[in-house]
């Protein structure tokens, strides 16, 4: 599903050029659950941004679903992104002024789904995430775990092929964290590809494969479970 080859990304300020990704290459198959680990500053987040089509690589190739997307302009990336990718962030990133229902509804609005269908789909996903009873609440009225469940609901409401999770349990206590990890596993078992950046060895164990990075390069790869292509 994803093939990156010699991916490069630099950050330049006036005097210093920092290499965030240094000729990084790997593949992710459809339906796989991959964890990316490494110390702060190793380029994990940069990688995730590029995989999520939020950022453009400075060099190398990125083939998504058979299409070369490196060099896409922002509009094309946004278009591809909204139909194929869901995001889960450490800090949840819900819009404070919108209710639970409205937050989850947002991606459907941008992909042009009709209101009646939106309602059905949002309700279904909220039900699945067991947050239905909070649908009219605002994010500040929820616990961290609940907020992250809403964020996951928002990430999956569009039935994306790929979910990118950036330290999804980083702001949660362990029981809430486990709950979210169970959710992700469930989604993965239902066929969604997941790439997760994490610091937690515990969380990484939910995945099929761990890619360890240092200084923008892949250092090792541990296969935890055998993954059979769907």
């Amino acid at each position: 599903m994803i093939t990156i080859t010699d991916l490069e990304k630099y950050y330049a300020t006036e005097e210093v050029r920092t290499i965030a990704l240094n000729k990084l290459s790997f593949k992710v198959k459809e339906g796989e659950f991959v964890a990316v680990m490494g110390p702060s500053g190793c380029g994990k987040s940069t990688l995730l941004n590029i995989l999520g089509l939020l950022d453009d690589p400075d060099g190398g190739s990125f083939v998504f679903n058979g299409i070369e997307v490196a060099g896409f302009n922002e509009r094309k990336r946004a278009d591809l992104r909204k139909h194929n990718i869901g995001f889960v962030f450490q800090s949840f990133n819900l819009i404070d002024e919108l209710t639970v229902f409205e937050n989850v509804e947002l991606p459907l609005i941008y992909t042009g789904v009709k209101p009646a269908e939106r309602k059905v789909r949002v309700d279904a996903v909220l039900e699945k995430m067991q947050i239905m009873h909070r649908r009219k609440h605002f994010p500040q009225q929820l616990s961290g775990g609940q907020q992250q469940r809403v964020a996951v609901a928002r990430a999956v409401v569009n039935n994306p092929k790929l979910i990118l999770a950036d330290e999804p349990t980083g702001n949660l206590d362990s029981s809430n964290g486990n709950e979210v990890m169970d959710l992700l596993t469930e989604l993965n078992e239902a066929g969604t590809t997941i790439i997760m950046v994490t610091h937690s060895e515990h969380d990484a164990k939910y995945s099929h494969r761990i890619i360890r990075m240092l200084d923008g390069q892949k250092v090792t790869e541990n296969v935890l479970a055998e993954f059979k292509s769907v």
């Binding site: 941004n49 999520g52 939020l54 950022d55 990133n93 819009i95 409205e102 947002l106």
Partner: protein, 792 residues
């Protein structure tokens, strides 16, 4: 999607009430001011455009040069009308027009009324339809009169006035041949309440003035046939007067030209033989103020919106991540500003509605909102929409440009560029505000300066009435009684009120005068006796005119000092001054006093004895009596001896006050609008202060952790803003100096612009800015640094 935007807009409005209030307040106040000014401008632009014939209507102007100086004026000789009609087929019709004030009486009702004497075609030329009576023939009846609806109401109440008789000036009976609607307030004929056929002029004053090609007594209005080329026609008609006087030995050289109705109000100022400017200058001036205020309000809005960008950045990031395009975000933010603009617009119209009566009072108009006119709603709607788009444009593009990875991952960081558009906005706001305030102060200074100028006579307690036919006969009885009953201390007849120039003359010669002295112009006044005692003017030399004690005083003269100076008289008393065959002798010299404009130097003046014409009776009221009592008793005396005319009087000081009306109105408008500008600008500054404090939260936190005291931090934050206001001042001050210097050029008697005005305004602006900013700065400085550092 729109519902979603609307929801967000609405909720973020309530989530941050302080910002919402400042946003809406600033915009509403700015829009309200702009709306009021727009009403004023629309009214000015609509003047004399409501006649059904407007696009074919012209006033004839005369042009000639004297002493090499070109002149242009709006009056024309009497015979011109028939010449135009017979010589030029392009002319559909033309009429003479002369303003006239007459005493109209029906039974016991007596009204001094303003109206006009005109030719029979007037109603057709101006496309006036009658309410009753036949408009086509109403003025062809030589003993008819046409009156307006409101005059008919005043005299006859609700009964039908058509066919009834009105007596004019106690002499002539006229039959009402038509009743016409009142002329609207944006017509030059607004105060005209009756129209008399031209035969009235001939009957009342004879035909002398109407046949002369050199006496310019009439306004001539011309109605052209459709689709005429004005320039070509102007070339064709310019020498009409000369061609009709070519048979005489001295053909009249005065040229004529047509001035279109659409320009009557706006372009009426004659300068160097051309009609340039006039009211249009005020229209531009007001328009600029309106645009300034609206712009400041919009800038404010931009500042406030971008100041909140930290709060909106996360939302922008999320929306982009879940699939929102930049375009959809631009629309969202524009939609928000349009929503705010509609809320502000509704408040603005409510404010404008509330303040409209006071504004009307101030500008002397009766402006109103035409709710029943669909185009009013359309214009209001587009105005609000455009304001919203303008105000929202910058924030929309600014906010929508945020990169999601930056704002979501590392938290929102505002740039601290050297060139910051928001700083530019604040500088321009304050520059405009400072400019307006300096102008206001100087306008006020100038008005005060002229007002405090010594008039040279005592304008208080000085009353005057018009010398009507009946009063002419009973003047001496009334004068005696007024003095005997201690109501007035002194009474004099004059040609014009003492604070009003109504006549000037030239063509005099005296011992030692040259031929060119004949072109020396003198203001002309007259008196029977007691002029000095009544007016309070100081006598410098000789004595007052007194026809009752000196028989020869019929041709006596008083000169003012300026006249003595320009005439070069060494011993003015006893000097003989000739006016053609007439010989006059100087009996006294008075100190210069202001009859005309308080802004101009005193002109040479002659006051002639009773051989001249009289128009007014002036009374110095007895200061020992209460004015109301005095007036009551004076009225009783006039009722007894002057029963045919209503007792209508004016106070000289009140009339003099009117001369400042233009400047006072302008001064008041300037102070109101500059006050609003500084108010809105301060809201903007407040926003920028909030914005900057937000960008520097981390810096402030670190400084505090390292031990910086609150005061130092507050100063650090305030300093930058004061710099901005300083820059604004540096930009505004020279512009203000230039603009005001130009304005003062209009006045001969004027103040000089002083540096301290600039200093005071500049310092006040800085002080106001400091108060506004320090509020935010202190808040930021006393905040707990742990909070601001933890979010990193």
């Amino acid at each position: 999607m729109i519902r979603n935007y609307f929801k967000i807009a609405w909720r973020s409005l309530f989530a941050d009430k302080k910002y919402a209030f400042m946003n809406i307040a600033g915009l509403a106040v700015g829009m309200a001011a702009a709306v009021l000014i727009a009403l004023w401008i629309v009214d000015e632009l609509s003047f004399d455009r409501s006649y059904s014939t407007t696009d074919r209507l012209y006033q004839v102007y005369s042009k000639d040069s004297f002493d090499g100086k070109s002149n242009i004026w709006g009056r024309t000789p009497g015979p011109l009308v028939s010449a135009l009609k017979s010589d030029f087929p392009e002319v559909e019709d033309a009429v003479r027009f002369a303003e006239d004030t007459e005493l109209l009486s029906v039974g016991d009702k007596r009204l001094n009324t303003k109206g006009a004497i005109t030719d029979s075609g007037f109603l057709k030329v101006f496309g006036v339809a009658s309410i009753s009576g036949n408009a086509a023939t109403a003025l062809t009846n030589p003993s008819g009169i046409v009156i307006t609806q409101s005059l008919s109401k005043k005299i006859f109440g609700n009964t039908d006035a058509l066919g009834k008789t009105i007596r004019i000036n106690n002499k002539f009976d006229r039959e009402i041949t038509a009743i016409i609607p009142d002329f609207p307030s944006n017509s030059r004929f607004h105060k005209t309440e009756f129209l008399l056929p031209f035969e009235y002029w001939l009957q009342a004053w004879g035909s002398g003035m109407t046949e002369s090609w050199t006496a310019n007594n009439f306004i001539t209005y011309v109605l052209l046939k459709p689709n005429m080329d004005l320039e070509m026609l102007n070339n064709k008609i310019q020498n009409t007067i000369r061609s009709h006087t070519s048979s005489s030995s001295d053909p009249v050289q005065t040229q004529i030209m047509l001035h279109p109705a659409s320009k009557w109000r706006l372009y009426s100022k004659s300068e160097n033989g051309q009609l340039i400017g006039g009211e249009i200058t005020n229209v531009w001036r007001m328009g600029r103020i309106a645009i300034f205020i609206l712009l400041i309000a919009c800038i404010n809005f931009m500042n406030l919106s971008t100041a909140r960008s930290g709060k909106r950045a996360k939302e922008v990031g999320i929306r982009k991540v879940v699939g929102g395009s930049r375009k959809s975000l631009v629309f969202q933010f524009l939609g928000e500003s349009v929503l705010l603009s509609f809320i502000s617009g509704a408040i603005a119209f409510a404010l404008a509605f509330i303040f409209l009566p006071s504004f009307n009072l101030l500008v002397g108009k009766s402006l109103y909102f035409s709710y029943d006119n669909p185009s009013f709603w359309l214009i209001a709607f587009s105005f609000i929409l455009l304001t919203g788009l303008l105000a929202g444009s910058y924030p929309a593009f600014f906010l929508s440009s945020f990169k999601p990875i930056k704002v979501l991952k590392s938290g929102f960081k505002l740039s601290k560029n050297a060139f910051n558009p928001r700083k530019l906005l604040v500088v321009s706001q304050f520059a405009i505000a400072i400019l307006l305030i300096i102008c206001t102060v100087i306008i006020k200074q100038q008005t005060l300066f002229a007002k405090e100028r010594d008039l040279g006579f005592d304008e208080n307690n000085l009353l005057y009435v018009t010398l009507n036919d009946e009063l002419k006969g009973n003047y001496e009885i009334i004068k005696k009684e007024l003095i005997a009953k201690n109501l007035a201390t002194s009474v004099t007849k004059t040609l014009s009120p003492i604070s009003k120039i109504q006549s000037d003359r030239w063509g005099f010669s005296w011992e030692g005068s040259s031929e060119s002295d004949k072109k020396q112009d003198f203001i002309y006044l007259s008196s029977d006796a007691d002029f000095i005692k009544t007016s309070g003017v100081k006598l410098v030399d000789g004595r007052d005119i007194d026809i009752y004690n000196y028989k020869s005083d019929s041709t006596a003269l008083l000169l003012n000092e300026k006249a003595v100076k320009v005439m070069g008289l060494k011993n003015p008393i006893g000097a003989i001054i000739r006016d053609d065959d007439k010989q006059m002798h100087v009996v006294g010299v008075v100190k210069d006093f202001i009859m005309g404009s308080p802004y101009e130097p005193v002109q040479p003046l002659m006051i002639e004895g009773p051989s001249a014409w009289f128009g007014y009776v002036n009374m110095r009221l007895n200061p020992l009596n209460a004015t109301a009592d005095n007036l009551k008793q004076i009225e009783a005396i006039f009722k007894e001896h002057n029963p045919l005319f209503p007792f209508e009087y004016s106070f000289t000081d009140q009339q003099y006050e009117l001369k400042f009306k233009g400047e006072q109105t302008m001064g008041a408008l300037a102070s109101i609008f500059s006050g609003l500008t500084i108010f809105i600008a301060c809201l903007g500054l407040f926003a920028l202060a909030a914005y900057t404090t937000e960008t520097r939260r981390k810096e402030i936190g670190i400084r505090k952790v390292l031990g910086a005291p609150v005061l130092l931090i507050a100063t650090l934050l305030s300093k930058d803003f004061l710099k901005l206001v300083g820059i604004a001042f540096v930009i505004a001050a020279p512009i203000a100096y230039f603009v005001m210097n130009n304005w003062l050029e209009n006045y001969q008697y004027r103040i000089s612009i002083e540096w301290w005005v600039f200093a005071v305004v500049g310092l006040s602006a800085i002080l106001i800015a400091l108060i506004t900013v320090s509020f935010q700065a202190i808040k930021a400085a006393i905040a707990n640094p742990v909070k601001s550092l933890r979010t990193e």
